[in-house]
Amino acid sequence: MSVELATRLIDILGGLLLFTMLLILAAGQLFRAIYAVAAQAVFLGIAGAVLAAATGNVDLWIIAGITIVAKAVLLPWLLMVVVNRVHISREIESVMPASLTLILAAGIVVLAFHLNASLGPVRQAITGNALPVGVTLILIGVLVMASRRKALVQMVGLFASENGIFFTAMAVSQGMPLIIEIGVILDVVLGALVMGILVLRVRSSVDTDIADLEDLRG
C-alpha cells in the first residue's frame, strides 16, 4: 500500500473518529455512547491495519487485532455488565447545557487543526491528520468527563480520550514498540476493571451513582 493511499485512508478514519466523538458528546442515552466508543475502537483497529500494510511493520497487525479485541469488545462488554448490574437510569444528564458543550467541541477541533498547521517539517513524522484528531479526541474526552454526571459516561469519555492517544501513537513514525502498546492496553483494561469494581461497590453500599458523591469538600 502506498504512502499516499495510507495517508488518505487515515484521513478518512480520522474524520470517522471525529464524528463518533461528537456522537459521544451529543449522546442522550448511555448505551448509544457505549456503542459509539466501541465503533471508535473498530475504526482504530482498521487504522492499525492500514498502517501495518503501509509501513510493513508486522507488530502493527498484532496491535490492531488486540485493539479490536480489548477496546471494541472487552471494554464495552464490561461497561454493559456494570450497566445491567446497577440498574441506573439510561439517560445522561449534563452539568452544562448541551449546546455549550457542542460549541466548545467545535472550538477544540478548530484549535487542534490550527495547531497542526503551525507545526513545521516534523509533521511528516505523523501520518495524515492523526495528530490533530488525537488532540481533539483527548480534549473532547475530557470535556465529556467534565460535563456529565454519571460515572459510566465519565468512563466512556476516558476510553474515548485513550482512543485518541492510540490513534496518534499508531501513526507516529512506524508505531510504538509492541511491548509498550500491549502494556498500555493491559493497563487500560485493568484500570477499567478497577473503576467498574468501585462503581459496583458504591452501588451496593450506598444507592447513588459514585460520581454524584460530593461530600469531600474544602
Binding site: 484521513d11 471525529l18 464524528f19 451529543a26 457542542l102 467541541a105 478548530v110 497542526n116 498547521a117
Partner: protein, 315 residues
Amino acid sequence: MDAIIAQVSRTLAQAVLLVAAGPLVTGIVQKGKARLQCRAGASVWQPYRDLLKLLRKGTVQSDTASPFFRAVPVLVLAATVTAAALVPVLWTPGGGDLPFGDAILLVALLALARFLLAVGALDAGGAFGGMGASREMTVGLLVEPALMLSVFSVAVTGGTTELGLLAARREALALSWTAPDLLALFAMLILTLAETGRIPVDNPDTHLELTMLHEGMLLEHSGPGLACIVLATHVKQLVILSLVAALFLPLGLAQGWGAAGLGLALGAFALKVLALSGFLVLVESSYAKLRFFRVPQFLGLGFVCAFLALALRVL
C-alpha cells in the same frame, strides 16, 4: 441557440422526473417501514391515489382566512418545483449558457416554501396552525444555516456554488472522500431527517397535536390545495435526497440524450435514492421522536459537523 434549448429541455425533464417520482419515494419509505414492522403495508403507489382523491374533493376554508390563504398551496408547489429544476439529477451541465441558479437559490426556494406554509397556517387562525408554524420555523432556523455550511464546504474546493458543476466535480473525484467530506455527509444526513420531517425530528404519520411540526401547518388546507401541498412535500423530500446524492455520491451522470447513457444515469439515480430511502427507513424504525426541546441539541450536532467540515477545509 441549440445549446440553450438543450439546456432548458434537460432542466425541464429533470424537474418533471422529480415531480413524478416524488410520491413514489414516499411510498417506498412507507412500504419499507411497514415491512420492518412485519406487516404488509400499503402499496408503493398509494401516495398517487391519495393525491387523486384529494383533487376530487371540495375545499373548505376558515372564516378568518384571507384570500392569500387560497394562493398559498399553489405558491408552495411552484417554489418547490422550481427548486426541483435546479438539482442535477441525470445530467452534468455541458456548456450551459443560461445561469439557472445555484445551491444558494435552491436553499432559498425551500426556505420560501417553508415560510409560505407557516404564513398560511398563521393566517387561518387555528391554534394548531400557530403552534406548528412556530415549531417549524424554529427547526428551519437551525437547519438552514447548517445546510448552507455543508454546501459551502463542498463548494469551497469546487470554487463555485453551481450545483451542476459541483456534481461534475464529485463525479470526477469518484471515491476519494476526505475527512471534511465525511463530516459534511454526516451533517447532511442529519439535516435530511429534519428537512424531510421524519423521526427523530418530526413524525410524518401522526396527527396528534403535540407531535406535529409539519402536519400542524397543513391542518387548515383541504381538497386540491391540500393536494398541492402534499405533492410539494413529496417533491421536497426527493429534492433533498437528490442534493445529497449529487454532492456526495458520485458516478452515473449522463452527458447527452443517448439511450445507453440515460439508462445508466437513471439506474444510478434510482440506486442512490433507494439507498438514501433505506437510510430513512432504518432511522425511522429505530428511533423515537425527540421531545421538542431536545431537537435543537440534535440539530446542533448537525450544525457542528457542518461547521467543522467547512473549518477543516479551510485549515
